[in-house]
Symmetry: C2
Subunit: 221 residues, 2 copies
């Protein structure tokens, strides 16, 4: 598995870098999605199922950002999707320079959609524009329905919220309506998709949204 | 609920500050524990049960560090334990200066043990000495048994690992032996306590360790 070691971008103009990367990716026809969540929320499992479900419809690439290890990238490449592992040198976020390094390191990239699986936490990733065209966040049922109260910025910044591990709802004290209400109070435009990547429940709605956003982005060109 | 707003410490000598705070707390007879974990791992639930179980044996105070909200501190104070909410101004960690501000803001503090519930993530909190006498981390079953591979520093730095939500083991693909083996490979001295704060399973072993560490610390004086 190819692993690239990232360093902090030596520039205070991350927003400008992000805007430039967004334009470059458009010219290459790559729709980049910044996928954010806490550690252990099921990002890689959601992506694995999404890649499998959408085989033949859309080519998906994945950039896995982590402090250490390459377990996620190995899982993804096992599905036949192009993937790369990025190490963030202890940093808890990915910025536009790092996202560009990841894209450039994926040789002969043939993907319509690339997911940037950001470092696992609900704090730092919300603060950096990575150059992505959409931001998606995950909240898993075991984390609790109070997370919008504790991490408001990420809920405000995201275009979609995927609530994962809904098959575990019977075993946890998680109020799905309260979670939705709290997310919508912070961000009335956020699209919410409760899913179980294990049973497949709700996956079609999430995948339909993804394809429709891709089509809308292509039309905007 | 009293809430204090924290700012980044204007010093590069956090280690020195932490050492000084550790000594001051000893002179006050306060055993400080830095409790770290991902968001949604059940820190507050573990503390709530621990406080209830140890009522009459030891007085516990809690400093809750979060980006926003005071939901955790309100939960803890509902148990009759002294608690304070700290807001970290967007930062994903607590340093020694912030820990001191929290201790000083707890007026008429009468506690043998104070838990600093650090900001919820497995990355930044591992990098800062808060002045605590012990470091305890939580890994919850739904997060997955691969977390030692992805966040090695926190496992290396911690004196104890509490594996929470073990009542959910039947519903998740979590290999308890693999998690223990991976943690011990990083840190052969780490003490591991699988617990369910819901059913009470394993709580006695965790609480016995806590009380024995407190006694050992007192004897070291």
């Amino acid at each position: 598995m190819k692993v690239i070691e990232l360093r902090r971008t030596v520039t205070d103009s991350n927003d400008r870098d992000a805007e430039a990367l967004r334009r470059e990716l458009r010219s290459k026809g790559i729709f980049l999605i910044n996928l954010m969540s806490a550690a252990g929320s099921g990002k890689t499992t959601l992506l694995s199922r999404t890649i499998t479900d959408l085989t033949g419809k859309v080519d998906i690439g994945v950039m896995e950002a982590d402090i250490a290890s390459d377990v996620d990238a190995v899982r993804i490449s096992g599905l036949g999707a192009q993937s790369i592992q990025m190490h963030t040198d202890g940093m808890c976020h990915v910025d536009a320079g790092m996202a560009r390094a990841g894209i450039e390191a994926m040789e002969d990239l043939k993907a319509d959609v690339v997911f940037l699986e950001n470092v696992g936490n609900l704090i730092c990733p919300a603060e950096f524009d990575t150059g992505a065209h959409r931001k998606v966040m995950i909240l898993s049922v075991p984390e609790g329905d109070d997370k919008p109260l504790k991490y408001p910025l990420m809920f405000r910044e995201s275009d979609a919220l995927v609530i994962t591990k809904t098959d575990a709802l019977p075993y946890f004290d998680f109020d799905l309506d309260a979670a939705k209400r709290r997310a919508l109070a912070l961000n009335p435009d956020i699209r919410i998709f409760p899913v179980s990547a294990k049973t497949g429940e709700g996956m079609a709605e999430w995948e339909d949204w993804l394809l429709s956003e891709l089509e809308a982005w292509k039309r905007d060109a």
